[in-house]
């Protein structure tokens, strides 16, 4: 019960059985570089499929023909300069906003066509980690993690307690169960949010900028957790991030967005060796290039001379 490996295994009440036997989960959780399932050997049917999506806010086109897919059990990274709509993409996948055209399907269901009860049923199978954690401030850490279970499953209190403590153990914060969110550091809040995101045993986890604003130690902890969850529980992960180094370490496939489209895709190694100027600028962190340093403005000298 106390071991990390057991803490990550699925609870007995889950009706979604996984293929990997318990012995495999125990031996691979948090250790070993090899993957249980190679995503390239997955079935060709993607778990998340975004096809030719167009989305605009007012007159500003955020996506114009965006297409990407995430295979089951893989870690897919979405990268791109700030303001390219990475977080908007997660909101589209979760059905919080609707695209003007195109198709987004999750588990084979078209998200835009779902009614609220069906959408909520789908969301119970998907976890999301918010950039700031988005913990409920009126509750303790324990109650935050227990919240989705209390809402969706009728579990006896001892079982619920066991489940929540297992998830908190998995993120290393069992000792912080009684703290309030205000008493947590940024990294701790994100780990609690991760425990909450996995408490319902999701099949897909969406991470919105999981590394932003974290110190190197917290970053390493989150990185390790994402990797372990993916390996041990075969959770399909979609990561939205700018952190090239971290993404390169864990992603199976990376999509680079710019100008409302995918400008490059492939493994992190493929992206690093790509010839495209946009990709090179992003991967090397060059301040100017195809993505300009300056926001569009009139001529500098002319503007200065116009008193």
């Amino acid at each position: 019960m106390g071991s990390r490996a057991t803490a990550l295994s699925r609870p007995a009440w889950s009706n979604r059985r996984r293929d990997a036997p318990c012995s495999e989960l125990k031996s691979t959780a948090f250790e070993g570089p090899e993957r249980l399932i190679n995503p390239t050997q997955e079935s060709s049917e993607p778990l998340i499929d975004v096809q030719d999506v167009h989305y605009a806010i007012g007159t500003h086109a955020v996506f114009s023909g965006l297409t990407l897919r995430a295979a089951a059990g893989s870690i897919t990274a979405i990268m791109g300069p700030s303001g390219t709509g990475k977080t908007t993409l997660l909101r589209l996948i979760m059905g919080q906003i609707q695209p003007q055209s195109g198709r987004i399907s999750v588990f084979g269901q078209e998200v835009a066509s779902l009614k609220r009860p069906q959408l909520y049923a789908l969301r119970q199978r998907v976890g999301m980690l918010f950039q700031n954690g988005a913990l409920l401030t009126g509750m303790s850490v324990f109650e935050n993690v227990a919240f989705p279970v209390r809402e969706h499953a009728r579990l006896p209190e001892p079982v619920l307690r066991e489940l929540v403590l297992m998830k908190l153990q998995a993120v290393g914060l069992r000792g912080a169960a009684e703290l309030s969110p205000a008493e947590l550091s940024g990294g701790m809040a994100r780990r609690v949010a991760l425990a909450r995101a996995i408490v319902m045993d999701p099949e897909v986890l969406l991470y919105d900028e999981p590394f932003v604003g974290l110190d190197p130690i917290s970053k390493g902890v989150i990185l390790r957790l994402i990797q372990s969850l993916n390996r041990a529980l075969h959770i399909t992960s979609i990561l939205v991030s700018h952190d090239v180094q971290e993404i390169s370490a864990i992603a199976d496939r990376t999509y680079l967005l710019s100008g409302g489209k995918v400008v490059a895709e492939g493994s992190p190694a493929e992206l690093k060796s790509a010839a495209s100027d946009v990709v090179q600028q992003f991967m090397s962190g060059a301040p100017d290039g195809p993505v300009p340093f300056h926001y569009p403005a009139p001529d500098y000298h002319e503007q200065l001379l116009q008193r």
Partner: protein
């Protein structure tokens, strides 16, 4: 003809807002019964909106009652009818001043707290997080707060009225030496059930209006510090105007 048919932008935006608030009210009402599955949330909100407003309501009720006592005594003494002070104060408080002033105080104290709390929950992604966890924030956050306000308002009004009449009695009986028996017996004889019913209906209507405006403004606040501030201000202003407007309509209906 077509130019006459098209409403002006100001009227059009007002109509859109009224429509949006009405739709939100229906959505909240639809979630009120499911929200009762969490009675602890409702009790917590009755405590927040009601018990935490008690001090301000009681203090204001006392002062309003004492002012009524002074003004009423001065006026009635001109006609030699000082003994009717209790009746005048009790009817004034129960039918009019109690519900209206309690609602105005409620909007300033509990309404702003509700709007800013929900607005901040929105600004820190807590409401979105609930949606993503397949929990409807209208059921979990909005409906208990709305119901809490609607339940708390008549209770607060009742307390305001009682303290107000006690304040009038302090002036009339203790200071001005009106016989206590006359004061209370005349009050008891004059106040009828329909007066109390009028006050209760008014306070319920004001409770719905104040709570609805507070939760609507909070839920739809821009997720920024400025947005939450503006939502709080709009809550007070809109509530005050709506309370007085509804009061006129209700009084005209009852009389």
């Amino acid at each position: 003809m077509s130019a006459m048919a098209a409403p002006r932008p100001g009227i059009r935006s007002s109509l859109i807002k009224i429509g949006a608030v009405t739709r939100f009210l229906l959505r909240v009402l639809g979630q009120c019964v499911p929200a009762l599955s969490h009675p602890h949330l409702l009790i917590e909100q009755i405590y927040n909106a009601g018990a935490r407003s008690l001090i301000i309501i009681m203090l204001c009720g006392l002062f309003v009652g004492m002012v009524l006592g002074l003004q009423g005594y001065d006026l009635l003494a001109r006609f030699g009818s000082e003994s009717a002070l209790g009746v005048a104060a009790a009817l004034g408080l129960i039918r009019e001043l109690g519900p209206v002033l309690t609602a105005l105080l409620f909007a300033g104290r509990a309404g702003t707290a509700l709007a800013s709390e929900i607005g901040l929950m929105g600004a820190t992604d807590q409401l979105t997080a609930m949606e993503m966890m397949a929990v409807d924030p209208v059921r979990y956050v909005v409906a208990p707060r709305f119901l809490g306000g609607v339940i708390a308002m008549p209770l607060l009004t009742g307390i305001f009225n009682c303290i107000g009449i006690y304040g009038t009695q302090l002036i009339g009986v203790v200071m001005m030496r009106i016989p206590a028996g006359t004061f209370w017996s005349q009050t008891e004889n004059a106040v009828e059930l329909r007066d109390i019913r009028e006050g209760v209906i008014k306070s319920l209507v004001f409770g719905v209006a104040c709570s609805l405006i507070a939760v609507y403004e909070g839920y739809h606040a821009e997720p920024t510090a400025e947005g939450v501030g503006l939502a709080t201000t709009r809550t007070v202003v809109s509530s005050a105007v709506l309370i007085l407007l509804l009061d006129y309509i209700l009084t005209a209906t009852f009389l």
